[in-house]
Amino acid sequence: MLRLVLQRLALLVPTLLGLSVLLFLWVRALPGGPATALLGERATPAEVARVNALYGFDRPLPEQYLTWLGQLLQGNFGVSTRTGTPVLQEFWLRFPATIELTLMALLFAVGVGIPLGYLAARHQGRALDHVTVGVSLLGVTIPVFFLAFLLKWVFAVQLGLLPSAGRLSSSMIATHPTNFYVLDGLLTREWDAAWDALQHLVLPAVALGSIPLAIIARITRASVIEVQNADYVRTARAKGLRPSRLRRRVVLRNAMLPVATTIGLQVGLLLSGAVLTETVFAFNGIGSFLATAIFSLDYAVLQGFILFIAVIYALANLAVDVSYGLIDPRMRAR
């Protein structure tokens, strides 16, 4: 198991190196330049040249890349051209928000998706099954931003039950030792702040989790149906295993393998979906910051943030591989 982890971590190095080259070229292929984005439409060529020289954007590309890489190795991710703050600082400031949001979304997707898929499989071909398949089809096809606006319109504007934007009500004065707002509220015993932060999480998490939920439900359903009809299940049943024990220990556990893989893959979907969801809900995470960075052509932020996201994605999938071992004893033995 440890070897597997180390192997995968070692593989991460060339992957990230390759990604860094692609990223570096990609941000520079975006139309326009940071100087134009900063200075506006009546910037003189001299002003543009001065800004470019200031940030080193006038140097040859290989030199720019090597400079950046050299800084990266020293843990320096550069400075945002838009905010004048180090990229690393911007990242750590917003990262807790995105983690909070993706975890809530994942919790929603897994917590509802697996039971839904499981129940649909057990009632295969009946009404509940059809409803589940229909709902999950809808979940995959509705664009996140549309769902977000719909949710806000119903729950924030019409019913006034939940806040429409932000992470915390502006009237809420709270301390934030960790920047995980819900956790902060619990740690500092500011229960009202924790509750307020939790309420702010509900709509974005549901919007963000909808597609993963649909996918997880479908995979769970398919997987459970397959396992239910497997020979070893029939054998176990024939040997007189109690149905409840059969379902829990044999069917569910065996059906969970593909589901775990799917969940790992959803982390990527959640992180990329966060760009849209966070923007729509004015949720101050890395996604919404990335979205503004695209428009202001903030090279350092784009490069740094996307690298971070790649690392998180890789680690999440590593965690899934490790979880195989937990679910399936055969994997552990290997």
């Binding site: 439409e41 400075v79 750590w92 806040p163 502006s170």
Partner: protein
């Protein structure tokens, strides 16, 4: 299932540990006076982005200035609801006949938020600070306005900025009289001083919090403590906290020299998405927001929200490049002007309340003339003119930008379509040349001769005619493709008139001359709108966005 939950738990814990490593930047919010209980005293106004800097001297963007206007005041303000300069921290000023010496009589009994008295020494400290910036502080995205208005610094490695500024010196004649001497006349000096970039800041706080210690020697500036956490001015509101990407909070300054008003706390939540701002207003999460989309105005009004229009301070125009031989013929340009139905265009494509333009400056700017040729909509006349010019089967390139929305041009594609339909009606064949806004479109129309008709505009910074027509027609440029020394001289001379009446008359004459020559067609002054919940009263909408919230009242 159980094991899975455990995995999730492991991830959660890992996340928490990671966050523990992350240092919290957040300031601990203090209890605002009277926060929460009794009457409503918090005004919540959505911002579209973080301020670039809380130190307005390092800012040039609207969101920074919006916050700065609450915290800071300049020597010069503006008359409410107009763009005209008015006394603020300077109660009056005298300008010497040669236009080089400005004597400011300062308001007495004003203190900065840190208790430092506001006096002539403080004024001089600010001017000396701006002029004395060196190195990285001279970068265009930090000291944009000082460079733009003054034209240089005391000294610089850059030849074009080295001692080239107009500012010469500042002296404190006595505690309440500051004398500023210029090296050469700067007619827009007083107007420019109304910009938040030139607001008065506490010399003590600037020093204490290292306002000029901009870090990042690698070439990328890192803002100092002062610009991120300690802005200190004389305005009605004191800075409380700034949670990046989240909100900026201000609270009332109890020792403010003027009227304190009802609002005791201002919150600027940052909501970058325009639809999200609208929904936040509808949900009651905010009291108001800026830059309301033209499409949302009617719906918000129907739902009982207030729409407040700013007087426009911008212009949208159609330029006609005279490097194109066909457009070099005045009759062709006149034909195009007559062919455009501005009224229909404004009604179809621009926000309600938008004014039709006849000058290249908005009516609120000094020097706007009612006597200019207006080239009213007349397709028959357009065809006659084309025949006279022997250009009945004219084909012309029409450059327009795509996927961009500017304050003076929310939907360029629609404007293009309306104008090109009018031109086709007059018998002109339009060859559409759409391009992405930056850099392709801008590079082409402002940097090359290869363009025909194009759409562009401008939003003014402060009440200065030269800031509009000087930028457009002050010298030969490839955007317009003509060389007319007479016109350039007219505009240049108008700029340096010392008496206000003479200057206004000279600018009016220049505007008439421009419209005779017809280098382009001024189309409209699109109106920017704000939206508020029904219980907000007295929002001080201003063409130059000089909007300070101490005058607002809120219903319970």
């Amino acid at each position: 299932m159980i094991r899975l939950t455990r995995t999730v738990a492991v991830v959660t814990v890992a996340g928490a540990v990671l966050a523990g490593c992350a240092q919290s930047e957040r300031e601990q919010a203090q209890d605002g006076e009277g926060g929460g209980s009794g009457t409503r005293d918090t005004f919540t106004f959505a911002a579209s982005s973080d301020p670039a800097s809380l130190d307005p001297a390092f800012a040039s963007d609207g969101e920074s200035f919006r916050v700065a206007r609450q915290i800071f005041e300049g020597l010069v303000g503006v008359e409410p609801g107009t763009a005209d300069p008015a006394p603020l921290l300077a109660e009056r000023w005298d300008v010497s006949d040669d236009g080089l010496t400005y004597t400011f009589d300062l308001k007495q009994g004003v203190t900065f938020h840190d208790g430092t008295p506001f006096d002539a020494d403080a004024v001089c400290a600010n001017f000396e600070r701006w002029n004395g910036w060196t190195g990285i502080l001279q970068s265009g995205n930090l000291s944009y306005y000082w460079q733009k208005v003054n034209g240089g610094f005391a000294s610089s490695d850059e030849e074009s900025l080295d001692g080239t500024g107009k500012y010469q010196s500042c002296a404190a004649q006595d505690d309440h009289t500051a004398v500023i001497t210029l090296a050469s006349p700067l007619p827009e000096f007083i107007s420019a001083l109304s910009l938040p970039a030139f607001a008065m800041q506490s010399p003590t706080a600037l020093e204490e919090h290292g306002a000029d210690d901009v870090g990042g020697d690698a070439g990328a500036p890192v803002l100092p403590d002062y610009a991120t956490a300690h802005p200190t001015g004389t305005g009605p509101f004191v800075f409380e906290s700034w949670s990046r990407g989240q909100q900026v909070v201000l609270r009332a300054y109890p020792d403010y020299w003027g009227e304190q008003g009802q609002v005791q706390r201002i919150v600027f939540p940052i909501i970058s998405d325009a639809n999200a701002r609208r929904q936040a207003l509808q949900a009651g999460d905010i009291d108001g927001y800026d830059l309301v989309g033209p499409a949302d105005v009617a719906a918000l009004q129907d739902a009982g929200f207030q729409i407040v229009d700013r007087e426009p301070f911008n212009v949208l125009y159609l330029a006609m490049n005279q490097a194109d031989p066909a457009l070099a013929d005045l009759r062709v340009r006149q034909a195009i002007a007559h062919a455009i139905n501005k009224e229909a265009l404004v009604a179809q494509t621009l926000p309600e309340g938008t004014e039709i333009a006849t000058n290249f400056i908005p009516p609120s700017v000094a020097g706007w003339s009612g006597d200019v040729e207006t080239y009213d909509y007349d397709p028959d006349r357009a065809q006659e003119l084309l025949e006279e010019a022997g250009a009945s089967d004219l084909t012309i390139d029409f450059n327009y930008p795509t996927n961009v929305s500017r304050p003076y041009m929310p939907t360029p594609e629609q404007v293009f379509q309306a104008i090109s339909a009018d031109l086709e009606d007059a018998g002109i064949t339009v060859n559409a040349v759409p391009e992405p806004w930056a850099p392709d479109y801008l590079d082409r129309v402002t940097g090359t001769e290869d363009h025909g008709l194009h759409l562009l505009g401008w939003t003014g910074d402060y009440n200065d005619t030269y800031n509009f027509i000087g930028v457009f027609f002050g010298a030969r440029s490839v955007e317009w493709g003509f060389d007319d020394p007479e016109l350039f001289e007219m505009i240049g001379e108008a700029r340096y008139q010392t008496s206000v009446e003479d200057q206004v008359a000279a600018y009016e004459a220049a505007n008439v001359a421009i419209m005779e020559r017809l280098p382009g067609v001024p189309i409209a002054h699109p109106v920017p709108s704000l939206a508020f919940s029904p219980d907000v009263h007295g929002y001080p909408a201003s063409p130059v966005q000089d909007e300070v919230y101490n005058v607002i009242t809120l219903d319970d």
